[in-house]
Symmetry: C2
Subunit: 217 residues, 2 copies
DNA sequence: TAGATTGTTAATCGATTAACAATC
DNA sequence: TAGATTGTTAATCGATTAACAATC
């Protein structure tokens, strides 16, 4: 009830605020003004204040923002005060990279299992978390409360597997396959298209190379 | 000279167009109208036409767009008609995942070497590409024409290594470290912040869970 | 109290969508 | 030629920035 439609642009900036506030907190900084934060983050102070005020007044006139309080509040907004059970489908390098990234655990994302079709993973565990075979997936989902599934499998299988996940109650998919997923509206999809990202990089490099408009920007 | 400042929003959509056109091409589709493409991609036809016209007229009235031609032209815009030598700093799971992703090669991104500090990688090769020790990095950059470096190392080392890369002529960094890099203007940085992405997902899941505004959207 | 800085309204800027004349 | 569909201008919408009154 408290908050209406927050724009995607604002949401996408929250994790970055959270990251900077975490650094400040670690550095022992107690309070910060939107102006000082704006200099660090290279955004306008106005944007910071506007963004935060979408969720309520976290600051105090004449004082600024209490770093610890703001950090905690943004954490709550992002849902980091709750735990989220997740699984990884695809135990290849990328799946393992995610499984090994312990910082996720600290933010409340609990990896419950990995899955793969390849029998060479039979009995293997990563950070103590077992890799199961894909034919165990449906039963596993029935017996465990899993919220999020990371999809680190080839494009060719992604759509099919995503459908199975959704049929069995998964509400959010973190999609690393190089394809878009067309799923029901109540399923949240966040895609990380690495090749798209590399192409964007390539575009920018190519522009620089041409050497036009050096003066602009 | 031909094109002025193209907005970031437009650029970020190009790889997606490229992806869909590639699929159409594979499916043997010869031509497509902005309207048909808009239905497939779930964007407006107007946006497609606007986006493409930033780079010139690729279509033909009454006919639409030739799939193969448009695919090729967008490829050129993205710099995929040239090859780009790149290296990966950090031979962990994520570095290896990138090294193993052969599709990059097909788009013209040639992996020349990986680098790591860990001596257990001494003499190891991935897809035939050697992992070298970090102390060989500077010499390697002097002797090879490397354009892009992917940074798949922990946050704590990222800033320092990025500086070394830039000092030695790297013009583009594909940054996977969980930190922002503050580099000279002529260096292109494309960051993939996986934890930011996961937090965005978390936000959206948490919103759904609260069950408000089911009717909206 | 005076100074600082927020929260918030108003102004500007940019991006998306709509409309349609040009043209294949 | 008639029909289709682009390229492009104009209208709308949304996001960012500026300004300032409220208030700590």
């Amino acid at each position: 009830m408290e908050q209406r439609k927050i724009s995607r642009a604002v949401i996408s900036r929250l994790p970055r605020y959270y990251r900077y506030l975490g650094d400040l907190l670690e550095a022992g900084v107690e309070r910060i003004s939107s102006n000082d934060l704006s200099k660090k983050m290279q955004v306008t102070a106005s944007q910071i204040r506007q963004d935060l005020n979408n969720f309520g007044g976290f600051g105090q006139q004449g004082y600024g923002y209490n770093v610890k309080y703001l950090y905690t509040e943004i954490g709550k907004i992002l849902g980091l005060d709750k735990t989220h059970n997740f699984i990884i489908i695809g135990a290849g390098n990328l799946g393992q990279a995610l499984a090994n990234y312990a910082a996720f655990e600290r933010s409340g994302f609990i990896l419950k299992s990995l899955f793969d079709v390849n029998p060479r993973f039979e009995g293997v565990a990563i950070r103590g978390i077992p890799v199961r075979m894909m034919d165990e997936l449906v039963d596993f989902l029935k017996e465990n409360e899993i919220e999020i599934a990371a999809l680190t499998i080839p494009k060719s299988k992604a759509v099919e597997v995503a459908d199975i996940l959704v049929e069995n109650g998964i509400k959010a998919i973190w999609n690393f396959a190089h394809t878009d997923l067309d799923l029901p509206d109540d399923v949240v999809v966040e895609s990380v298209h690495l090749s798209d990202s590399l192409m964007t990089l390539s575009y920018n490099v190519s522009q620089r190379r041409e050497g036009l408009t050096e003066d602009e920007e």
